[in-house]
C-alpha cells in the first residue's frame, strides 16, 4: 500500500492499470475510486480524507477529479483553486470504471453543494461487465456510448452503485 501513500512524486497512481485484487498474503483488497469536484479546495481536502480512510481499511485507492468546466478566465477571477494534484478523470475511463464497479462494487457520494461533490466507487470485479453507467456525473454527462450500452450483468443483483442526496448547507449549519 505504500506505493499509494508513500511516494510524494506520484501519490495516487492509476489503479485502473492494476489487476491485482489481493495482497501478497491473499487478502482481498477492494478498489476504491474517490471522484470529486472542488471549486475552492474544501472538498479536495475531504476527498483525500475519505481516501485515507479507505486505504486504512485495506483498499487500493485512486483519487481523481472532474474537469473544470468554468472558463479559465472566470475561474481565475473568482479565485478557484486550480492547482489540484489529482488527475482529471476522463468520461471514457469513468464509463468503463463505473461499469466495472457495477459488477461487484459500491458507490457513495458526498455533496456539500451542487458544485462540490465527491463520488466513491468501490470495486471488487473479477470479470468484465457491460452494465450501464451508474448515474449522472457532476458537471459531465455520461458518454452516449455508456448510456446506450445494454446492461448484460451476469447476475441481476450484482450491480451495485449509487449516489446520495444533496445535503443542504442549512441543515448542516442549523445546530
Amino acid at each position: 500500500m505504500n506505493r499509494i501513500f508513500g511516494s510524494r512524486s506520484a501519490p495516487w497512481p492509476d489503479s485502473t492499470q492494476t489487476t491485482q485484487h489481493t495482497s501478497n498474503r491473499g487478502v482481498f483488497m477492494p478498489k476504491v475510486l474517490v471522484l470529486y469536484y472542488s471549486t475552492y479546495g474544501h472538498i479536495e481536502t475531504m476527498a483525500y480524507a475519505v481516501a485515507e480512510g479507505a486505504k486504512a481499511a485495506g483498499a487500493i485507492v485512486d483519487v481523481k477529479r472532474i474537469s473544470e468546466t468554468v472558463p479559465e478566465e472566470i475561474a481565475r477571477a473568482s479565485h478557484f483553486k486550480l492547482d489540484q494534484a489529482a488527475p482529471v478523470a476522463t468520461i471514457d475511463e469513468l464509463a468503463k470504471r463505473s461499469l466495472s464497479a457495477a459488477e461487484r462494487g459500491l458507490a457513495v457520494s458526498l455533496r456539500r453543494s451542487p458544485a462540490s461533490s465527491i463520488r466513491l466507487v468501490a470495486c471488487g470485479r473479477r470479470e468484465p461487465c457491460t452494465a450501464r453507467s451508474a448515474g449522472p456525473l457532476p458537471r459531465a454527462p455520461p458518454s452516449t456510448a455508456a448510456r446506450k450500452r445494454p446492461c448484460s450483468r451476469s447476475s441481476p443483483t450484482s450491480c451495485i452503485s449509487g449516489w446520495s442526496s444533496w445535503v443542504s448547507p442549512t441543515a448542516s449549519r442549523g445546530r
Binding site: 482481498f28 477492494p30 474544501h42 483498499a59 457513495v108 450491480c159 445546530r175
Partner: protein
Amino acid sequence: MVIVGLPYSFQGQMTIGEVAGSAPYGATTVAGGDGSRRPSENELTGARYQGELIAQTAKKLFG
C-alpha cells in the same frame, strides 16, 4: 444499489459544541459564506470514517 453513508456510529456528527458538518447521507464540511473556513478535524474524521466504511462494506460483500 448500495449507498454507503455516514451512520450515527460516527458520533462526531452529533457535535453541538462547534460548527460541524457531517450528515447521515455522507461526510460534509461547512465552508462559510466566504469559503474561509476549512474542513475541521471533526469533519475530516467523518470523511475518513466513511472511506473506511465503504472499503469494509466492499470487502464484506465481495471479499
